[in-house]
């Protein structure tokens, strides 16, 4: 049974990657699970400098969802490389760093540090965080800015560059193509949906920051749609993200065209989620007489579009 996939020249031993901001820096789970069993780990978003993040409350539950406005609290890329990386690099998994910036220059600067650090396999470019006042969504919502940030990162590193797209756009295909043209090796789709929850007693937002990013099962249909649209729009691989908490959820993205997926909020709900999905995926493949996970990727038969064989048109 082959569960390994290759994306942007990186070999993931399985298609399940821990999503940024939902798995800390990895070390937090050392005692809870075997990190080497993961396909990959994306670090919490990192700037050049440490960041306090937003005031609290920072998270609140919504129906089948989680609304957060952490605001990218973090230790900064240098502390990560110095203190954390040596500790996690010994786990045999693909270590990706999620990079952030207030400016295009900062993105490039953080990317440059990553480029020089042994053990960082690739760079996920967070141009889609809704919870900061500068950078983030301001870059990811505009194809020109997306192009600029990705090109700037591209210029300073030979490591795979994986922009993470925002769902808070009218047409994700436009952003996906902008990122591809700027030299991206793969895409991550999607970050959180911008949401607002109101505390009717205080008549203030439930989150101190105001709005927040919606994640979890609630957003899965939107995420699958966007990952599918992005995958159709570009030639580079698209990593699917959004509301995955079972093998069936993961398969929706794989079938829609994503060679790998990231698991976010489900880590909070069940720290054993990767193992569970991995086992269920293997069982599913077996039951379907398949011995390679790649055989399901991009096999969606969409009505009116050419089927996976490239010829059949579905009714």
């Amino acid at each position: 049974m082959n569960l390994a996939v290759e994306i942007a020249g990186l070999r993931f031993k399985n298609p399940l990657i821990a999503a940024s901001g939902t798995f800390g820096y990895g070390v937090e789970y050392e005692d809870v699970l075997d990190l080497s069993r993961l396909g990959g780990i994306v670090s919490k978003g990192l700037y050049m400098e440490p960041r306090d993040g937003n005031p609290t409350p920072r998270i609140t539950e919504t129906p089948s969802g989680l609304l957060n406005a952490i605001g990218l609290q973090g230790i900064g890329i240098r502390a990560f490389v110095r203190d954390v990386l040596p500790r996690i690099a010994r786990y045999d998994t693909v270590h990706l760093v999620n990079i952030c910036g207030d400016t295009v220059e900062e993105y490039a600067e953080v990317a440059r540090v990553c480029d020089g650090a042994e053990g960082i396999a690739g760079i996920e470019v967070n141009i889609s965080c809704p919870n900061v006042k500068k950078g983030g969504l301001a870059f990811g919502g505009d194809p020109r800015m997306t192009h600029e940030v990705v090109a700037a990162v591209r210029k300073v590193t030979r490591r795979p560059v994986i922009p993470k797209l925002s769902p808070n756009v009218a047409d994700i295909a436009v952003l996906a193509r902008a990122a591809e043209e700027a030299g991206a090796d793969a895409l991550s789709c999607i970050n959180t949906l911008l949401g607002l929850a109101v505390d009717v007693e205080t008549r203030r937002p439930k989150l101190a920051f105001g709005t927040g990013g919606l994640s979890g099962p609630a957003i899965r249909p939107v995420a699958v749609r966007m990952a599918w649209q992005a995958a159709r729009a570009v030639k580079i691989p698209v990593i699917g993200i959004g509301g995955i908490s079972s093998a069936s959820d993961a398969l929706e993205f794989l079938i829609a065209g994503c060679p790998a997926v990231q698991i976010g909020t489900a880590n909070f709900v069940d720290p054993g989620v990767h193992e569970r999905i991995l086992a269920d995926l293997a069982t599913w493949l077996e039951q379907h007489g398949l011995d390679d996970i790649g055989a399901v990727v991009g096999t969606l038969e969409y009505p009116g579009l050419p089927g996976p064989c490239g010829t059949e048109v579905c009714p």
């Binding site: 539950e61 089948s64 709900v269 720290p271």
Partner: protein, 281 residues
């Protein structure tokens, strides 16, 4: 070591009002849990509500390999726990968090509990009994309805001092009143330990500060993961060696903090909001 465990419910006792005593089996949690630690727990695998919930470990029985939670039913997560039937399982991560410290020899542990904040002090009292330490538990609420555990706190060596704001049981007034009386009455060296609503914790912190006593408070923020990754549970803390306060995870560096190091909310954030939110802004 915290780890993900599937824990069967072995016993379930409904107390008066919306309170349950739920006893689960798990050898390691029963053996390792310390007073002040908690579990992140969820009944079954239903998708709603999405997240697990934090509950203090109230008691353990290493021989029977069980631990007990004291659960107040306030919403869907606690309700689902209260609906578990013996034999059914919960998803559980724990024991988590930093426990209360052991009181230094010769020091009396003054435990101050408000509402469901009493939970960790049952285990604390057990620990005191085992170590031969001295303690006293001040247990407060608005009315006697808020003290459903009153009859379940016997069997330890820790005297119990109830207090209710309406006087329906024990001391008439806030729980800090009998605490201060006790301190005034010439008690020996003491250390304060508090768990309960934020306003109470802040009051205890002020008592400690005024009297130059050490105090530890167990904070109660919204927790997403219990393990230091969601950064949802942070509270503002400034340790003695630090030049500025910063956000620390209550789930890993807490929930028990040195009261003197907690940046209590300033007056710019409205009181109503803080109390509802139940934690530091």
């Amino acid at each position: 070591m915290p780890a993900n465990r599937i824990v069967p419910l072995v016993a379930r006792e409904g107390l008066r009002g919306p309170y349950w005593l739920l006893t689960f089996r798990h050898p390691e949690i029963a053996r390792d849990a310390r007073a002040g630690q908690f579990v992140m727990i969820k009944a079954g695998t239903s998708a709603e509500p999405p997240l697990r919930r934090p509950f203090s470990i109230m008691a353990t029985d290493p021989g029977a390999e069980t631990f007990t939670l004291f659960v107040k039913e306030v919403g869907p997560g606690s309700r689902a726990l209260g609906r578990l039937a013996p034999g059914e399982v919960a998803q559980c991560l724990g024991p988590l968090g930093r426990p209360f410290s052991t009181p230094p020899a010769g020091t009396e542990a003054l435990l101050v509990a408000g509402g469901y904040g009493v939970a960790p002090f049952r285990l604390f009292a057990e620990e005191l009994k085992r170590s031969g330490g001295r303690g006293r538990l001040f247990y407060g609420g608005r009315t006697s309805d808020d003290l459903p555990l009153l009859e379940h706190l016997g069997g330890t060596s820790t005297p119990l001092v109830p207090a209710t704001e309406d006087g329906s049981v024990g001391h008439h007034g806030q729980v800090t009143a009998p605490l201060e009386e006790w301190l005034d009455s010439g008690a020996g060296p003491a250390r304060l330990y508090a768990c309960g609503p934020e306003a109470m914790l802040h009051a205890v912190a002020r008592v400690a500060e005024a009297r130059g006593l050490a105090a530890e408070v167990s904070l109660d923020p919204w927790m997403g993961c219990g393990i230091g990754t969601c950064l949802g549970c942070v509270v503002k803390v400034q340790n003695t060696d630090e030049t500025r306060a910063s956000y620390r995870c209550a789930c890993t560096e807490g929930p028990v903090f040195d009261a003197a190091r907690v940046r209590w909310p300033g007056e710019e954030v409205s009181r109503a909001r803080r109390e509802r939110a139940g934690f530091m802004a």
